[in-house]
């Protein structure tokens, strides 16, 4: 079996590209400001967004931009989330560690984001998706290898669609490549072959 | 079935340029099966001639000569070709496989298209009608003829139908690499045949029945029922376009391979030959048998009034 891409979204260097077409772009905006302006451009209201850490915000943005182009009526458990990520939650880990090093009281609101899989939780909550979750850490992104994992989730019958790809955040560096894929299988009842 | 009358026939083959229904003297001891070039300049402008490959020249020579003899505007131009413009294809393939070729000349590319023949004919004749090219291997011409019958049934009156295939030395090389017998390689042929068909004006010779079947359990039985259905008697000449095909049916028979060589659309020239036999009234029918692939076969029956 193989998979086929339904939609894609890339976010890097202040530009959101959806299905190959630039959707939103700003120059010289620091990452935290970009996360705000790109959210505003989406024109949705989701106050929880502002509680998230940068990794979750980026993953959330990418998912929202990607889903905007597709109005597939997903059932609540047919979308598997499968993410590759490079530097785990180290960006928020450092914040938590800094509080410890400074002897300041640590914050549960920070600590909860010291797990990289939280971004899948945020996406699942927003979309009411109860499907499979998988997060793999690796130093870089390779679409073919990701497609292999997505293919496995779909071909093993665990999901009809797989959403995911690469989300990586560390300090002011960020990169996102998300894909929504489905099976490229054709269901047949041919008996003459 | 709508009767289709044959008014004109022109062929180019290893036997030379052949126009009309008079049976020429046929040599059966040929050692070479390359089509003999006629004087193309009589109908093709010299400027265009220079860049044309042999298959285009042959097809244009036949079709333009036929068109010159008539005032008719074709309702349809239908061509069958097995391998199309091999020379141009080879030329462009060679060009692009050379390392760092850069920008290539487009001539070979644009002429390599299989429908160059039908397109060039329409272009030369300024014909805006139906224009079709069939390329089903050894049945390309049979399928083109089937299309002509279908279009006649749908109301077309005058149809230009033809076939063409060309030989390039690469075919011999490939034949040797594929361990073909030397005699078979020598017999790789080429040629073109074009016909003026009319659905409403009788000419004496007509297509009585045509059948192409890709799936046939028993070919001999198929031939038998076709012949019976069409009330074909012993006064029928069987023209076989396939090498090594043996049919024992008590009819006179001839193998086209020995006359014009083997090429995918040599059933075109078989029709021309059939017309000549019918013109001489030696036979009541001519049946062309093409069993070019293992399972499939084509049967075309001609009669005369």
């Amino acid at each position: 079996m193989a998979i086929q891409v339904l939609s894609s979204c890339s976010i890097e260097n202040g530009t959101v590209v959806v299905n190959g077409t630039p959707e939103y772009s700003v120059e010289n905006e620091v990452f935290s400001d970009f996360l705000k302006s790109a959210y505003r451009h989406l024109d949705i209201s989701y106050p929880k967004y502002f509680k998230m850490d940068k990794l979750c915000q980026l993953a959330f943005l990418g998912t929202e931009y990607l889903l905007k182009t597709n109005d597939i009526p997903f059932t609540d458990d047919e979308v598997a989330l499968c993410f590759f990520n490079g530097r785990s939650s180290l960006d928020t880990d450092s914040k938590h560690q800094q509080l410890i090093n400074d002897g300041t009281k640590v914050s549960p609101a920070v600590f909860v984001y010291t797990l990289p899989n939280i971004m899948m939780g945020e996406i699942a909550i927003k979309n009411k998706w109860y499907g499979e979750n998988l997060l793999i850490l690796r130093p870089d992104f390779n679409f073919e290898e990701w497609a292999l994992e997505a293919d496995l989730l779909i071909s093993s019958g665990k999901a009809t669609y797989c959403l995911g790809g690469w989300v990586d955040v560390f300090q002011d560096n960020y990169q996102l490549h998300l894909y929504l894929v489905e099976a490229a299988e054709i269901k047949m009842k041919l008996t003459s072959i | 079935m709508q009767k289709l009358y044959i008014h004109q026939a022109i062929s180019i083959s290893t036997q030379g340029f052949w126009e009309g229904f008079d049976l020429p003297e046929l040599r059966e001891d040929l050692e070479e099966f390359k089509a003999v070039d006629p004087d193309y300049k009589t109908v093709i402008p010299v400027m265009s001639l220079r860049r044309m490959s042999k298959i285009t020249k042959m097809a244009l020579m036949c079709s333009l000569t036929i068109s010159k003899n008539t005032e008719l505007v074709w309702d349809g131009i239908i061509v069958g070709t097995g391998l199309g413009n091999l020379a141009d294809t080879e030329k462009f393939l060679t060009l692009i496989s050379a390392t760092d070729a850069g920008l290539n000349s487009p001539t070979a590319f644009t002429q390599s298209s299989h429908n160059t023949l039908s397109g060039q004919i329409a272009l030369q004749l300024k014909n805006h009608g139906y224009n079709m090219t069939h390329v089903q291997r050894g049945f390309s011409f049979e399928n083109a003829l089937q299309d002509a019958i279908l279009q006649a049934n749908c109301g077309m009156k005058n149809i230009l139908l033809g076939s063409a295939d060309e030989h390039i030395p690469l075919l011999d090389t490939l034949g040797r690499e594929m361990k073909y017998e030397e005699r078979a390689i020598v017999q790789f042929g080429e040629g073109a045949s074009f016909f003026q068909l009319s659905a409403d004006v009788p000419s004496g010779i007509f297509v009585q029945d045509a059948l192409v079947k890709m799936k046939s359990e028993n070919q001999l039985q198929e031939i038998d029922s076709f012949v019976t259905k069409n009330k074909v008697d012993k006064k029928c000449c069987l023209l076989i376009t396939t090498p090594d095909m043996i049919v024992d049916c008590g009819m006179d028979r001839k193998s086209l391979g020995d006359l014009v060589g083997n090429y995918m659309t040599n059933s075109g020239i078989a029709i021309h030959l059939g017309c000549a036999y019918l013109q001489r009234e030696e036979y009541n029918h001519v049946l062309i048998l093409n069993a070019n692939s293992e399972a499939g076969m084509g049967l075309t029956l001609f009669g005369h009034e």
Binding site: R87, S94, F111, T114, N117, W129, Y130, S156, K158 | -
Partner: protein
């Protein structure tokens, strides 16, 4: 999902403060010992912590996790028949939530990345295929197990070594403390008076293979497994247990089993009020309220990314020895739905076991295994 290819699992191993190796750990647990204790001044800034921690003297480097996780892997591999080629048909998976996070204190970013830990562990392994790190909070271990089993079933690999490891750190201790999720005494999973969890550190490993003969001791069979999300809250479990219910539901489906065929449940059971309640509800929804169940957090504390593999390894050992461990710390079942929580060790011959885990981010996992 196990298709035509059967997936077997065995060569389980645990390295924990309760014992060095699965035999010692299991025997200590069977004898009612726990690895949990009151630690005085375990980290600067923390005066006391009830947790399971290795003796600092056990390690010779500044990366204890590398040592105890590596030791666990070596132990697992020792239980294999080595005439089998170790080649690119092997998959190595590390499941961890925080890896070697202690180095973050000194700003050593690279070493703090779980991927680094995997690379370090891989150096000691006799096969070279690129290892994977799965980090899905507290379900990491089961997520890795399911991932590896699916890869074998899909014929992408033949064998997999999976190891789960997390260290007790100032980082996580202070974090959980800030949530008021810690019990300052022995945790009491599924008990009426439960107050919270204890943290711990450990490593556990096991081997999955399509080939039974790889194992020196007869392996168990992996039936099926699944993950799912609560889609409810990132740090609190769903009140209804919806996500866990669905994970179990899917695991049953992929295993071609029904809930009534489950004879024993190895639960997550952290000892927090909400988690245990949520689990009970989810199990009850499957009609499992009378199925024997335990939580092993009372022996090891919550070892995060390692926990579900530690518990899986221990449960496998139980299935081999026909002894199922009591829920250390639980005196009387106290969740809303009446449950058959083991409060004494029980000798039973069990064929099919359900193992579950739930974690932050709303994730849940369920796996079914079978004693052949």
């Amino acid at each position: 999902m196990a298709g035509k290819i059967n997936v077997f699992l065995g060569a389980e191993n645990v390295i924990s403060p309760l014992g060095w190796g699965i035999q010692e750990t299991f025997s200590n647990a069977k004898n009612g010992r726990t690895g949990l204790k009151e630690l005085e001044q375990p980290f600067p800034g923390i005066t006391n912590l009830f947790a399971a921690k290795f003796d600092d003297a056990s390690f010779s480097t500044d990366s204890p996790i590398e040592e105890f996780a590596g030791e666990s892997c070596r132990g697992s591999l020792e239980n294999l028949n080595f005439e089998h080629q170790l080649d690119e048909r092997w998959l190595f998976v590390l499941s961890t939530t925080k890896g070697d996070i202690i180095h973050l204190k000194n700003g050593e970013m690279d070493r703090s990345n779980p991927y680094y830990l995997m690379q370090q562990l891989q150096k000691e392994l006799p096969f070279e295929s690129q290892g994977k790190v799965i980090s899905c909070a507290c379900i990491s271990g089961l997520a890795a197990l399911i991932y590896a089993a699916d890869k074998i079933a899909a014929d992408q690999v033949d064998h997999a070594l999976i190891v789960g490891a997390d260290a007790l750190s100032e980082f996580t201790s202070l974090g959980f403390e800030s949530f008021f999720a810690l019990d300052s005494e022995q945790c009491k999973p599924f008990d009426k008076s439960r107050k919270g969890l204890n943290l711990g550190e450990a490593a556990a490993s096991l081997v999955l293979s399509k080939d039974q003969t790889l194992f020196q001791t007869s392996p168990l069979r992996y039936l099926g497994g699944a993950t799912s999300n609560d889609a409810n809250h990132i740090s609190g479990p769903s009140r209804t247990g919806e996500g866990l219910y669905r994970a179990v539901d899917k695991a049953l489906k992929y295993s071609h089993k029904t809930a009534d065929q489950i004879e024993f449940v190895s639960a997550h059971g952290t000892g927090t009020l909400f988690n245990d309640e949520m689990e009970s509800k989810a199990f009850a929804s499957h009609g499992l309220q009378n199925t024997p169940l335990n939580s092993l957090k009372g022996y090891f504390g919550h070892t995060l990314g390692a926990s579900s593999l530690v518990e899986m390894a221990m449960t496998m050992q139980s299935m081999r020895e026909n002894v199922f461990l009591k829920t250390m710390g639980c005196a009387a079942s106290g969740t809303e739905t009446e449950r058959n929580v083991l409060t004494e060790n029980l000798g039973m011959e069990i064929k099919i076991v359900l193992k579950t885990a739930s974690g932050f981010g709303g994730c849940n996992a369920a796996v079914l295994i079978e004693n052949q």
